[in-house]
Symmetry: C2
Subunit: 175 residues, 2 copies
DNA sequence: ACCCTCTATGTGATTGTATAACATTGCGAG
DNA sequence: CTCGCAATGTTATACAATCACATAGAGGGT
């Protein structure tokens, strides 16, 4: 059984094989391939099970390079013949988020593929409010003013959400 | 001098007349009064209309000093005789958020009264995952690594979300 | 091979969050 | 007065997330 590698979605897609990631040009085809290959490798090494649904969801998100809502993901899973109820998508997403393959963008209630998989990191995101593109950067909020405030009152930081909203270079140019 | 005297909620409340804000003790009664007075003053000065619904929602949030979901707010509006449909709450919240009286906690899909009203600021929050308490601190994410990354790619930051999840000092003590 | 167990998936139902669309009201400016 | 605009009321619906329960597979131990 071979899945349709060329997805059946209908959204606008660049005519060539490149796209924006982190607001920069890159070869998207190899990018998708290596991302999936790396995920498979890591799962093999760590005994994680990258099942068909999980793999498909990761593939969709890597393919997009932008945030997708759970129901957009669910719609495509349905088209591909997977279960069509919300838990199908949410369980796959839970797995991918827990293991660092995917991040949740709280501001959008949506999900993006991790741009730096493998590295343990506290990610920060730049979200374009015009085109919804999402770029991932590094952050260390616990090192700055927030960390100081936390230490001062005795708050133990376990996880941080850092998301910047604004306009990406592409949309700035157009305007 | 009892700070839970007007609310009809049932959650556990300190026995004395003080409460936690920013995980620190303070006099809640004057705190609520001054917050509302300041809001009214600012609205008068800037030609903003602090209508009954909007004032009531702000009062609820200041009274609580923790994040309330839109539907919790809506329930209380209904009890007070205001409209009981979601847009009533969301429109009031939109106004309060836009004008800096209230912040949205993206991680919780909930809202808190601003702890430093008046000052133009990019707030940061500490959220206790055990008791849902929320403390507000200052942040300057655009000054650090994220700001550098944004400048490097030409992303224009307009607004930032900084939220730290962890355990507050109170819950740490209990455990 | 077998059973056992644990994980993953499928499905229906429900709750919570948020917005679209449109009617109505009330106030201020000309 | 009436026109226009901001705010509110109301219906309906879209999107996000979880609960509960049934079924299916994979792997381990015997």
């Amino acid at each position: 059984m071979i899945w349709n590698n060329m997805t059946s979605d209908t959204r606008p897609v660049p005519a060539d094989d490149s796209a924006l990631i982190g607001f920069q040009q890159h070869d998207h085809e190899t990018c998708v391939e290596t991302a999936l290959a790396n995920a498979e490798k890591r799962c093999r090494e760590e005994g994680l099970r990258l099942t068909p649904v999980r793999r498909k969801v990761l593939e969709m998100l890597v393919q997009e390079h932008r945030a997708l809502g759970a129901y957009a993901i669910l719609d495509r899973l349905r088209e591909e013949g997977f279960g069509s109820q919300p838990p199908v998508a949410y369980r796959a997403l839970d797995f991918l988020v827990e293991n660092g393959f995917v991040h949740k963008i709280e501001r959008l209630n949506a999900f993006v593929a991790c741009a730096h998989p493998g590295a343990t990191h506290s990610p920060a995101f730049m979200i374009c409010r015009k085109c919804d593109a999402v770029a991932e950067a590094q952050s260390a909020p616990a090192k700055g003013a927030l960390g100081a405030a936390a230490r001062a009152v005795g708050f133990e930081i376990e996880r941080t959400v850092v998301e910047a909203e604004g306009v990406c270079p592409d949309c700035t140019k157009k305007a």
